[in-house]
Symmetry: C2
Subunit: 516 residues, 2 copies
């Protein structure tokens, strides 16, 4: 039996809706209260609800996602070739901090079991991280990590994992270029992620450009400073090292001191306000903005009401909604910082002869997203409706509660890497096409936009927001489900699928400066 | 007993020499036939052999590496602060293909045992490589590779290894930007490296920007085409995949067909002309240009005389020697291509507000290299003296014998990654400060510039060129030792230390285009 035709319209002004049915809908299908389809419309793609004149705006989320290149009759498939994309909104004359904050009651009484750190941050996992100044040391460090896992880790059962913070930076780069500050502070702040318990150990080569004291200058490590200790560095070129194994042994000795301290830690009950949640989407489709992202947005509001920190990101995916964001800024200064980040990225893309439209992928388009404007409107939804209180430039660390915009590229791995640097202790990732994304340092909770994906990828997707499109759950239902699941994962009571299978993507740094 | 004072002067015009003694030389040391030291000069650092007037050129390798900022008395330490670096040579009015080719006898009768491929190339190892379109699939592929190594590889004893070609590219990038051609062709050509036997298998996500047919368009795989087979792709988003393990099983099935074919291959005797040797230096010191690089240059000449292909690279490290290179070009077209690559890189660095002087590292300077001019003169030496017959833009594949300039950044990992793409089947890497560099795909032969390093890193350095500075061997001796060692390693009779310990650096792509 064919399912009843089901479309999703996001806003009362919209003159298009997306087809929700698995496999799309055939021509001749009569939409309830709407036109009859004139052609087949694939799942996630748009159908014209009324006749749209040539040049008239095509409205989704209540805003023009483009203008009709020709007259589009009601019931036609509004595919990307029928849409003329609008120009990007200019960055002047924006509404600055104009929207009143929602009148919310605080959400009280929610807690999780976390690892309290000396600097006040809270970890959701208890991991030994090995900071590396340069890619040169990656092979030796990896060899040492395998031995640490085999020989040391079993002796320290309260430590969850040992993670080498491998990256492609550190030498052969223009380290004094103006933009080199981005990868350097990214690495500095990743080494201080709350899930690493303040136990910073460094493996250095010796001759690299990114010297340990440049990566972690005095005062950048409040915890080590509190113990009155110097930065703990194993330098491979140190003259005391004779032979490969002496380097490996140095790293093992270094690791053991940190493992002992980490192993003495225990989870304690902390308020939900200690969560620092980074939200991201990848492999998006037209459902992303209708199911998973609104549910994440609802959950983001719950988190903010509970006093937690929430970051959203992906500059090219919010660029077309800049006016919404500046209006939502808590203060004019925050609005100005949003404009600063958009302008910086516009210029960065222009230097490479592209613009924000370079964002969309073949999969986005196959999934029904016609262009970056439509993608952006669906992407921003996951930030919920709280005032934006903080803006971070790429690689900066979040210091403060509430909603933050952490400016990052939209690349999944680069965004995740920068959110790690910003200090997230939990990651939420929505996907429509499906991706097995995961990180070694922080649990990644994956939210499927469609039930079909959630069924097929049953042991990779943690939450199914496709139930919203199916009419089986509301946005609020899934938002609450996610909120509770986050508290369970943060507490270590539940593991994400990516943790279960140990699926880890690389740290991929954002380096807008040249390599040499 | 203190060793006799020992200095190295590279050219009869030089007014400086470097101190060769371990630990440097104290003030009061009388240099044989030269001045008495007025201050301590560290090992590898320069001493003034005569009085040098303020503003006069300081000559090493017979060329000005800078001008004296003040009068420098004979016997003083000529450190970097005393040198005013010259401007970069302009790119017009260069000598184009002016130097006559050396009158060399061909070197005949040298062979190695290699794996002959269907496209005519020869592998030095027999490796199954798993090409990935995008970082998204890295976690799943890594999981599968661990199972392939544990469950399948033992059944195929003639296959040396299974290597996942993980990288940070493939999505979240401006894939239509003019410069995106660089990372894309790099990945395309790496998958065709001679050590992979033409067995190209691909793991794709499905929705990524770098679709398999864009990475490897029809016709780009001569071997698969010769078998009349389509590109072998496992797509994780394929609807046939239900659950994580079904993806892993697909990759295992896919791998086994390739393992069977690879396992049927045997080494055969091939002429030394089938070697494609990439030479590189990293962690350089003042000895690099006096010991290891000249020995590698001598070996490069032997290889060219034997009909082999040799590539040198590292644009910022040859930029100051552009006039030498254009003069050595085999034809004016080759000279023009060299100028094209230098000009491209000048502009690339300028976009990031830096120039070629951003190259030198703290370790270079500690090792006695005052600036990029001095470093470049020592770096170029490893190209030997053959005519330059080919020029590759970054990521291009070498097609032809003799000496080639493969334009790359000087970053060790990026240069190695691009030389892999160019088709090297053997890698020579010289180092003065010491680095444990290695690659999974191709053996890396490491040459130490100093005996002290070779002694301390006795199980990481394959060849000690420090014997040249010690007076125990000539450049020719070490060049021949390296040549014979290369034939042994290429044949699988010997392993490099990096292979012994399985020290593998990441593939790090050169992406001059923006990320999105």
């Amino acid at each position: 039996m064919a399912a009843a035709p089901h479309t999703i319209r996001m806003h009362e002004r919209d003159n298009v809706a997306i087809v929700a049915n698995d496999g799309g809908l055939p021509p001749g299908t009569a939409l309830p209260g709407g036109p009859t389809l004139r052609e087949r419309v694939p799942q996630g793609h748009k159908v014209a609800l009324v006749d749209i004149a040539a040049g008239a705006p095509v409205l989704r989320y209540g805003i023009p996602i483009g203008h009709a290149r020709e007259a589009i009759a009601a019931g036609r498939w509004v595919h990307e070739r029928l849409l003329q994309m609008p120009e990007a909104r200019g960055l002047s004359d924006l509404p600055m901090a104009t929207r009143p904050a929602p009148d919310w009651a605080p959400l009280e009484g929610y807690t999780f079991e976390g690892y309290r750190n000396a600097d006040g941050s809270v970890g959701t996992r208890n991991i030994l991280a090995i900071t590396q100044t340069v890619q040169c040391v990656a092979g030796v460090t990896d060899f040492a990590v395998q031995r640490i896992k085999a020989e040391l880790l079993p002796k320290y059962p309260h430590v969850d994992d040992v993670v080498a913070l491998e990256h492609g930076y550190g030498c052969g780069v223009a380290i004094d270029a103006p933009d080199a500050v981005v990868p350097i502070r990214t690495l500095r702040h990743i080494s201080q992620n709350p899930n690493f318990g303040g136990e910073v150990m460094v493996v250095s080569l010796g001759c690299e450009k990114l010297q340990p004291e440049r990566l972690l200058p005095p005062g950048s490590l409040p915890i080590a400073d509190a113990r009155g200790e110097a930065l703990d560095v194993v330098c491979l070129q140190d003259e005391a090292h004779v032979g490969f194994m002496s380097m490996v042994e140095s790293i093992l000795r270094q690791a053991e001191a940190h493992l002992q301290r980490l192993n003495a830690r225990r989870r304690e009950t902390v308020p939900a306000s200690e969560l620092v949640v980074g939200v991201q989407c990848g492999g998006s489709d037209a459902f992303s903005g209708a199911t998973a992202n609104p549910a994440v947005g609802f959950c983001a509001d719950l988190l903010v009401r509970a006093g937690a920190s929430v970051m959203f990101s992906e500059t090219t995916e919010v660029r077309d909604g800049i006016a919404q964001l500046t209006a939502r800024a808590a203060t004019p200064e925050v609005a100005q910082a949003l404009v600063r980040e958009m302008a910086w990225y516009d210029a960065y893309l222009q230097r490479g002869s592209v613009d924000r439209s370079a964002n969309t992928t073949p999969g986005n388009k196959k999934g029904g997203l016609s262009n970056i404007v439509e993608k952006a409107m669906g992407s921003i939804v996951k930030s919920g409706s709280a005032p934006i209180r903080h803006v971070l430039a790429p690689g900066e660390k979040l210091r403060g509660k509430g909603l933050a915009y952490a400016a990052t590229p939209a690349s999944d791995f680069i965004c995740g890497t920068l959110q790690l640097a910003a200090g997230m202790n939990l990651h939420v990732f929505t996907t429509g096409r499906g991706t097995p994304y995961g990180l070694a340092a922080v649990p990644v909770v994956k939210v499927a936009t469609r039930s079909d994906l959630a069924r097929r990828w049953h042991d990779l997707m943690d939450i199914n927001a496709g139930t919203i499109a199916d009419g089986q759950a509301t946005i609020e239902d899934v938002g609450w489900e996610l909120f509770r699941f986050l508290l369970d994962v943060a507490s270590g009571r539940k593991k994400t699928w990516a943790e279960q299978w140990k699926l880890h993507n690389q740290l991929v740094l954002f380096n807008p400066a040249p390599v040499t």
